[in-house]
């Protein structure tokens, strides 16, 4: 299904991460082709966020291997991963609230553009994420949805080969979620591979991307969204018909 005919951009091989005795990620294998889009879902404690942090480099794996764009980045520093083409949008917003919208976007843009090219690139990005005209507003003043879009815009500003998104629609209204879906699809159409870690099933449905279900640190199921929906086991696991997973219906954090 994934990484079939296209050249692989991301290859994860038996990735493991233990915290004390707990195996948060317990042997994940995954291949993602250039320009592919995929969603990783799973109930609370499935290891989604740990997997995300292993990919972005905030934490290092216990064992296993991550190859990105032909390079082993398993133990690479976050800034080295960023330089090789991985952009991340973390769950906790990740914008600079003390700075203006314009300055926020300058930070990722400065690495590849000269000051002369900057104003146009900033305006293009703002249009792309629906924040046009807000250049000199302080990021703190934006609404929650706007902050999320700014964070997305900052990730897109890197023109990444791989875009890693951790719950990009957390706390958004359904209309805002729909717009976010469009932004993600558009950037995927421009050639970025995208991995979305998500909890909100409505959003996953809307994204119409291949889905990987994570459970207890392992890949439990892969398929299209409708396959996931139809799979009895996944439904029980994820949608909480078993009592012990009931809490997973609630939004995380």
């Amino acid at each position: 299904m994934m990484g079939g005919d296209r050249e692989a951009i991301l290859q994860i091989t038996s990735l493991r991460k233990s915290f004390g005795g707990v195996r948060a990620v317990d042997g994940v294998d995954l291949v993602l082709g250039c320009g592919e889009l995929c969603c990783i879902i799973g109930p609370n404690g499935a290891g989604k966020s740990t997997l995300f942090q292993l990919l972005s480099g905030q934490i290092l794996p216990t064992t296993g291997k991550i190859v990105f764009d032909g390079k082993d980045v398993t133990f690479a520093h976050p800034f080295e991963r960023a330089r090789s083409g991985i952009a991340v949008k973390v769950q906790s917003l990740g914008i600079f609230q003390d700075l203006t919208v314009d300055h926020n976007l300058r930070i990722p843009l400065m690495r590849r553009l000269s000051p002369r090219e900057m104003p146009k690139a900033i305006d293009d990005l703002l249009r792309q994420v629906g924040l046009q005209g807000l250049n000199s507003v302080n990021a703190r003043e934006l609404s929650h949805g706007q902050k999320q879009w700014l964070a997305l815009g900052m990730a897109l500003a890197m023109r990444p080969k791989l875009l890693l998104l951790d719950e990009p629609t957390a706390g958004m209204s359904s209309e805002e979620t729909r717009l976010t879906t469009e932004i993600i699809r558009a950037s995927n159409a421009q050639g970025s591979a995208v991995v979305v870690i998500e909890h909100d099933m409505a959003f996953v449905r809307e994204l119409r991307a291949p889905v990987i279900v994570l459970h207890l640190g392992r890949i439990f199921f892969r398929g299209t969204f409708s396959e996931v929906e139809e799979n009895e086991e996944v439904r029980h696991l994820y949608l909480g018909t078993r009592n012990r997973f009931k809490s997973s219906d609630l939004p995380t954090r």
Binding site: S56, Q58, H77, L99, H103, P108, M110, P119, S136
Partner: protein, 365 residues
């Protein structure tokens, strides 16, 4: 040429610093003129005091840069000040025959800056953060004080400069040599900037104006923008491809170099230095100056350092109340105006303004 000039002006007047209105610059110009004509109106003793006050501003600016702009609090900036003073003094004493003090100046700037580079490499590449940096710096400076205090014996000397234990370098240590005043020039045309002289005062005023403007340009540059971002979320800055450790190292060295400048000015002003410069008060006072004025502003730091140092000298006449007053002031300001007195009243850039096109940032607030 004009283009270049206007971009420098825009950089100096960027929005990372308060005081951007026409009114501010008129006041600043008036203050500069006031500083220049001041020696005509005050006694030699008062001028000596003002020279001391100005020499401390660079220490405060260095702390403002690393703490206010880059988010690294150091409780040991006096380590760089003291190290600079000793390095300048030792080299100056050894080369007193040469007439000029260029090599002593270079030593005074380079020794603390290189030391800061080694220290910050160890700290930032080992991911030491926040309060641990502050405490490590305090330990470092107190180690210097303890070490130098026990160098009274004759075996502790560098060339002809004996370190002098708790008497330090200078006329009190019984040594014949004392650290020289800054002496510049070529061949026989030498200018000596002795601490009591008007020339020394003008040297400091010139340095203050130049460094203040350079730092304003720095904090509004691309580098300054990255610093502001690191202050808020270093991990996020890394995720955009910046090596935050290297950036922190550079800014920490800049802060150390500014402290070193204070140290050189201090030792050449009084022609002496003792291990007590490494002590707790010299490390905590700059934190008070910067915090009370407003750590996120160079302008506030300059003003509050001058005012508070001047006030300390007033109080010192009445006895040792100065430190108590400074401590109380810090507590009160941190409770009522945690962003600092001058920045809260001086109108930090507000954000309720309507969207402006980028570049039209010359609104006076």
């Amino acid at each position: 040429m004009l283009n270049w000039f206007s971009s420098v002006v825009r950089l100096i007047n960027g929005e990372q610093e308060i005081g951007r209105s026409r009114g501010f610059w008129i006041c600043a110009f008036a203050v500069a003129v006031g500083l220049i004509v001041l020696p005509r109106f005050v006694s030699a003793y008062a001028l000596l005091n003002y020279s001391y006050i100005i020499s401390m501003v660079f220490l405060a600016l260095g702390l403002c840069l690393i703490w206010g702009f880059a988010g690294i609090l150091s409780l040991g900036q006096a380590a760089f000040l003291g190290l600079a003073g000793y390095a300048y003094g030792v080299v100056g004493i050894n080369l007193s025959q040469s007439g000029t003090t260029y090599l002593a100046l270079i030593a005074g700037l380079m020794v603390p800056t290189l030391f800061a580079a080694v220290l910050s490499y160890v700290m930032f590449y080992a991911r030491v953060k926040g309060v641990y940096v502050a405490i490590m710096m305090l330990v470092v400076t107190l180690l210097f004080e303890t070490f130098l205090n026990q160098t009274a014996g004759p075996q502790w000397h560098i060339g002809v400069a004996s370190l002098g234990g708790n008497n330090g370098l200078g006329r009190f240590s019984g040594a014949i040599h004392e650290p020289p005043s800054i002496t510049l020039g070529l061949g026989s045309r030498l200018i000596e900037f002795s601490g009591q002289s008007v020339a020394f005062y003008y040297l400091e005023v010139g340095l203050l104006i130049a460094i203040y403007l350079c730092l304003r340009a720095l904090v509004n540059s691309r580098f300054g923008l990255i610093l502001a971002a690191i202050r808020e979320d270093g991990a996020r800055v890394e995720s955009f491809g910046y090596d935050v450790r290297a950036i922190q190292l550079v800014v920490f060295c800049l802060g150390a170099a500014l402290a070193a400048l204070s140290g050189i000015l201090y030792v050449s002003w009084g022609n002496f230095i003792t291990p007590s410069v490494f002590g707790v008060t010299n490390n905590i006072l700059p934190v008070i100056w910067v915090a009370v004025g407003g750590r996120k502003s160079l302008t506030a730091t300059v003003i509050s350092t001058v005012v508070l140092t001047w006030l300390s000298q007033r109080f010192a006449i009445q006895g040792e109340y100065a430190f108590v007053v400074m401590g109380a002031l810090l507590v009160v300001v941190m409770m009522l105006r945690p962003e600092g007195l001058i920045t809260s009243f001086g109108g930090r850039k507000t954000s309720a303004s309507p969207p402006l096109s980028p570049g039209s940032s010359h609104d006076g607030r």
